[in-house]
Amino acid sequence: MMKNYLLKIVLFGLPVMVFPLLVLLIDPYNFVNAFHVVNDSDKYKVIQRCDESSPRGNLLWKMICYKRQPLPCIIIGDSQGKDIRTDLIADITGETYSNLCVPGASYNTMFDLFWFAAAQTDLKKAWFQVSFMNFNTQRSYNLFCAADKFMKYPYLYFTTKEIYVDAFYNVAWAVTRNPQLISKSYEFLPENKMEELSRSRLHLFFDSYSYPDNFVEEFRKVSQYCDKQGIELNFIILPVYVEVDNYLEKVGLDEERAQFKSDIKALGHTIDLDSESPLKNSRLNFFDYFHPKKAVMDSLTIEVWSNCVLQ
């Protein structure tokens, strides 16, 4: 009787098994890396499909890639730095970098990512792309845990609904090539909506602000570790649209930003690209107020790493 019942349960469970099989076969993050039904560039496009999925997706993707192929040169940062092209850097410097900049990454996420990278290999160069927008005690969430749990408990990869959704989108994108499937992120917003979003982000980042001394303290630990291990530590501050400067002046956060920059500069070699320049004054150079467009990022990348070579 019990055997028949168990058989019935197994029979009932068979359709349910379709889900983990789909994940195994499509493998949206190359977690298993056994099958490559959908190619990697398509998978990466799907990961960015919407603002809710991209932070976790980007982080998981980059962590898996890095774990599989750890490189001694890394760039850690948030959405501002995600478009720093490592192929351009390789052309200029001859060094292969891993870009671990993740949209939505808080400083806590960045610190954990640094320690994660340091645990994988002997680092040689570490670049931190730092921004004032996230340098706020109020923004103390940590995305790292969301991706790290898959490393700690691999079975979650086959039981988490978001992974199924990504697998489903992979199939849908591969079959239909419908651009709507992969363009739900803010970058694809129409102009008027983008302005609205930019203004709302000013409020999101700065309306409730307190200076995060604990982030400075954590950076000191990173800096001490780098000194001890002989890792070259660099910081890069990317430009933001002039409207951000105006807003900071309006809400009286000028001093805090100056403090942020001086604290960062005290920690290591810093390239501050957010000082007054014509680039900051043109709205055309930015997606929203905080994120330089890809062409701008390419020219900045060339400028920064060429100077590094010259030095």
Binding site: M1, F19, Y155
Partner: protein, 479 residues
């Protein structure tokens, strides 16, 4: 380890397979061991606490039974009950009492001050304390014997399906089930699994999706759009019902897999026609416990006072039900409001019946149900609010004429899943209406072709899966 987590499903599978794989005499031991593992997954300190609590009460029960004919029986009994109740009061109400006494004595400059202790409330203490008090009362009244099998006694208190949020079981109903032989009955297992699935659906698909606006309203009460308070006022009842009855269904379903039938806590409460009837249908295990161990002994003791004793008994009972939920003045008001409503119903019963006879009975039933539901929603403001001033803010802004444009903006901006949850609840409500009228919807469903039934299960599973979220918890877990 929440019931709606993947870890728990693995745990439940392992425990049920182990249960049916061992010989009859080891089955209760398996339940005990898995219950200990379940508690250990919450906290290792909690295992130590509950085991000490269980051992002490096991000894107390046997000791009380032995001294049943001794002149010290009453003293032993009272000390046992006071020790258990004292422990509950200490863990649950010490901070609240200390705060209030300090401010009281501070006002008189009495120089008395109670220190603040950072003690954590042991999970499930309100449930197993009430269970053990009920058990001791039965022994004292010689209405039942003490349980001499420690494993059985421990399972009475820490059986994992009911450990964290009840139901509050009665010893006379629970122990006999442990003594009977548990054979593998596929129909019973299927019933258990169906109940578990239904509970999870209620919790994950309905309650969790309604939690967003309810939590937002009470967490940000000053900035929450005033026009939307009316919406929250209604859905908070559905939210709480689906959360707690969802948990209870899951607990009952799991227990059934192990051959144990637990007390159902809910009997279509939103179809009650009066507040007193509502409490016979809502959190039944708590209300019936309070009825048997607080209300009845009280009115028997003071029967010479007639109706005064009844009214005082009602207030005392609902005061206890209110503060059972937690140490906050809002819970005191929650209980007292129920007391006021039930006393008023008690006093006006004859007149109400006479008045109702002038109208269509169906209309009377409908209006009575609406009144009961709205009264419950009103009292839930005190259940959900963090303090009295928040509750007052909610109520005072509830009756402000909503700005329709603001209300429509809020309603449009609500995620579609909130409306989906409301729709699912309405479907559930229709089923409950049919059941109320005598239809056995479960039996009707069972008579459908397997393909239809399984399709139904798959649809429910799909909804549960795609609407699950990592941060889910159960409201009644904190009590």
């Amino acid at each position: 380890m929440l019931f709606n987590s993947f870890h728990f499903l693995v745990f439940l599978t392992a425990s049920s397979v182990a249960f049916y794989s061992v010989a009859e005499r080891y089955k209760q031991l398996v339940i005990f061991l898995f219950s200990v593992v379940f508690i250990a997954a919450i906290s290792s300190k909690l295992v130590i606490f509950t085991l000490i609590f269980t051992i002490l009460n096991y000894i107390l029960g046997i000791f009380l039974e032995k001294k049943l004919h001794s002149p010290y029986r009453l003293l032993i009994f009272r000390l046992s009950v006071m020790a258990n109740a004292g422990l509950l009061v200490f863990f649950k109400y010490y901070g609240f009492l200390a705060d209030n006494l300090n401010s009281l004595f501070g006002g008189f400059n009495a120089g008395l001050s109670f220190p603040h202790l950072n003690v954590l409330l042991p999970v499930g203490i309100s449930y197993y304390t009430f269970q053990v008090i009920g058990y001791l009362v039965r022994i004292n009244r010689a209405a039942g014997l003490a349980e001499h099998n420690f494993i059985h006694f421990a399972n009475y208190l820490i059986f994992f399906p009911k450990f964290i949020s009840g139901p509050i079981e009665r010893s006379q109903r629970f122990f006999p089930q442990l003594n009977k032989k548990t054979t593998f009955v596929p129909d019973e297992i299927s019933k258990g699994l169906r109940l578990f699935l239904l509970g999870m659906f209620k919790k994950v698909v309905i309650a969790n999706n309604l939690a967003g606006p309810v939590v937002a309203a009470y967490d940000h009460i000053n900035t929450f759009p005033q026009g939307a308070f009316v919406f929250v006022f209604i859905i908070q009842a559905i939210h709480l019902y689906c959360d707690f009855s969802g948990y209870t269904d899951m607990a009952l379903g799991m227990a059934r897999i192990f051959g144990i039938k637990l007390t159902d806590n809910f009997n279509r409460p939103f179809l009650a026609c009066s507040v007193s009837e509502f409490w016979r249908r809502w959190h039944i295990s708590l209300s019936s416990w309070c009825n048997d161990f607080v209300f009845l002994p009280f009115i028997i003791q003071y029967r010479r006072l007639g109706n005064v004793a009844n009214v005082a008994g009602i207030f005392l009972t609902f005061f206890i039900i209110g503060v059972w939920h937690g140490a906050n003045w809002t819970f005191v008001v929650l209980g007292l409001l129920q007391g006021v409503a039930i006393s008023a119903e008690f006093a006006s019963k004859r007149k109400r019946v006479m008045f109702a006879q002038k109208f269509n009975p169906q209309l009377v039933v409908l209006l009575s149900r609406i009144y009961t539901f709205l009264f419950f929603c009103f009292t839930l403001v005190f259940f959900n609010a963090r303090n009295m001033s928040d509750a007052w803010y909610f109520i005072s802004h509830l009756f402000v004429l909503p700005d329709l444009s603001q209300l429509s903006t809020v309603l449009i901006e609500l995620p579609a899943r909130v409306y989906m949850a409301v729709c699912f609840y309405l479907i559930l409500f229709v089923f409950e209406l049919y059941q109320e009228n005598g239809a056995d919807t479960g039996w009707l469903f069972q008579r459908m072709p397997r393909l239809v039934r399984w399709a139904g299960y798959y649809i429910m599973l799909a909804f549960i899966f795609f609407y699950s979220s990592a941060g889910d918890t159960f409201i009644y877990l904190k009590f």
